[in-house]
Symmetry: C2
Subunit: 350 residues, 2 copies
């Protein structure tokens, strides 16, 4: 059983995942890896993963067999587990609880693709629906307060398997990166009465200098205080705090938009490793006027990441204005927005 432990000084919760390593020297090997060239995420290898939690699949197919389009399985080495009680307790001045939560892998395609940009529009749309479905499902558990969806592409971004996938970690605490956003945006709201993210969208649209892509429903820009070269944020233009409350039309728009932005970054930077993270409001809140869900995309450029590591200093050698201008200048494949009727939320087996 892993533990959630709180840093007594700064209040940050850390997952101590006891089951992930047998001995100190073993822990690298205990992560899923692909040394043999065999891919457990490809169609036909369903028996090489834990049993599926959810899938979008051919109605005639059976769970844990072929015939799926998007498939969700527990992480083989989960950092958190659903079974048990939180068992909140102290140890002297320290606070801890049992590692209750969920750690799921969303396999985005039965085919061995390497990036979300290789998915078709329909496939990416189904991935977004699955993100939403999993959040809605896990939100029912009153012990859990936050669901973070993120994607690592490439070894330099922390991906141990090449096959395109996302991860979902659901926790009984709010991760510090989101907590800081929640408190900071609330402070702004209390002072100015507006959502700071909405204000940022207005200013970025007005100056245009940091805008990467502008569409009726979404905007992508390199943030004013970008921590990393070519860091790019995607925000819905309409205010909304919870990703899982996304409207059906917005799912369609986001699938086109996300693919276009990632394709642009890949064309500009020669297919870098990258992460994206969906920042959304905690489960235990209704629609919030001060918070605005968004996606942060961070290309992983080597030699740079090392610098701020541990210091809290971010030194970004590429001003966001230059990054955005470069991304705008890149020739990219024309968007493949189809004119056919939108496929709605597909039938799920779970």
């Amino acid at each position: 059983m892993s533990e959630l432990r709180k840093d007594t000084i700064v209040g940050r919760w850390v997952i101590i995942a006891k089951n992930r390593a047998k001995r100190p020297h073993d822990f690298e090997m205990s992560l899923p890896s692909q040394r043999s060239g065999f891919c457990p995420f490809c169609e036909g290898h369903e028996d090489k993963t834990p049993d599926e939690i959810a899938a979008y699949r051919d109605p005639a197919s059976e769970p844990n067999r072929q015939g799926w389009r998007v498939r969700v399985v527990p992480n083989k080495f989960p950092a958190l587990r659903v079974e048990g009680n939180l068992n909140k307790r102290g140890e002297g001045i320290y606070d801890l609880m049992d590692g209750i939560g969920a750690h799921e892998v969303i396999i985005e395609s039965p085919k061995h693709l390497r990036s979300a940009s290789e998915l078709s529009d329909e496939e990416l749309r189904e991935v977004l629906w699955m993100y939403r479905d999993r959040l809605v499902d896990l939100k029912k558990d009153p012990r859990l307060v936050y669901g973070m969806i993120f994607k690592n592409v490439g070894a330099a971004a922390g991906a141990s398997l090449e096959h395109t996938h996302s991860q979902l970690i659901v926790t009984p605490i709010v991760p510090i990166s989101v907590w800081e956003e929640m408190t900071g945006s609330l402070e702004f709201y209390n002072y100015r009465g507006r959502c700071v993210f909405c204000d940022i969208i207005q200013q970025e649209l007005a100056t245009e200098r940091r805008v990467v892509l502008d569409r009726p429903d979404f905007i992508a820009f390199c943030p004013f205080a970008s921590r990393f070269p070519f860091e790019t944020w995607i925000l819905p233009k309409a205010h909304a705090s919870h990703f899982e409350n996304i409207q059906k039309n917005e799912v369609e728009g986001l699938s086109f938009f996300l693919k276009e932005v990632i394709s642009t970054i890949e064309a500009a930077l020669d297919r870098p490793a990258y992460n994206y993270i969906i920042h959304t409001a905690p489960f235990d809140s209704q629609e919030l006027e001060h918070y605005h869900w968004h996606i942060e995309i961070i290309p992983r450029m080597t030699h740079i990441a090392g610098f701020e590591w541990g210091t809290g200093f971010y030194i970004n050698p590429v001003p966001p204005e230059e990054a955005a201008a470069f991304l705008r200048s890149v020739e990219r494949p024309a968007p493949t927005r189809s004119t056919t009727t939108v496929i709605g939320s597909p039938t799920a087996t779970s």
Copy 2:
């Protein structure tokens, strides 16, 4: 001129270092590197660095020539510069100022050593004195409020040059990692009337489970909520908030202690890349009852760092109790504490 820009949402300041890259694709090459095998930090190559700011050297030698033992030069591609005014200003809802500060490199030996553990006790003591001297000197500038000393060893830890060196970044703002510690420890102090770090020392000494090394003046332990495998903190047992106010006897003690801890980590983990960072109180404060300076040592184990990157989630697969037990069990060279008279603060040329 670089800029310091504030993230409007979470309040984090980021250095946008315009001069470090000419074009987006160039920025990796613009960092100092050692591709050719030539080392600009070795004795005899003094003309390959910017002019020295300070050095401990043979009184008969001249600045920027041979004869030094520890040498401080500006970073060749500085993120911040001392010249100019802060020029604090707004840009719509954003806040920024000019990139005023200092970015120095402390070359720890004229010899091409790779880690602080290879320095002699006397050499490491002089490195610590130089840390202190540079902080004291830069603190005189009222525009500057924080000095962060850190060390990257190995490419995986962000070091672009192999020759053992530290870096010092001095800023007109407090970095967010320290700001969080300052506010968190003040909150604890206001509630309990004690220093949280002193409380942690007491508890770690009482339980012993996470202690790596215990000496009369310093303690090293793996923190209860370790973010990273084998993360190890060094704290002076006597309460003190400002590293630069360190007593002469403590410099001696710390040089032995730091070397012993790093040697232990290197013996246990097969000489990993590592970072250490000195966390100390801001310049614009007198001795603080709630803050306690310390050194955080973070070995860089591959495949792990990727996970939390950008998510704010730290998943540590090695519980600190196991890490500490493993570090304690390692055979290490007997400490070489000399019995000769301690060499005091050496003559500096600056």
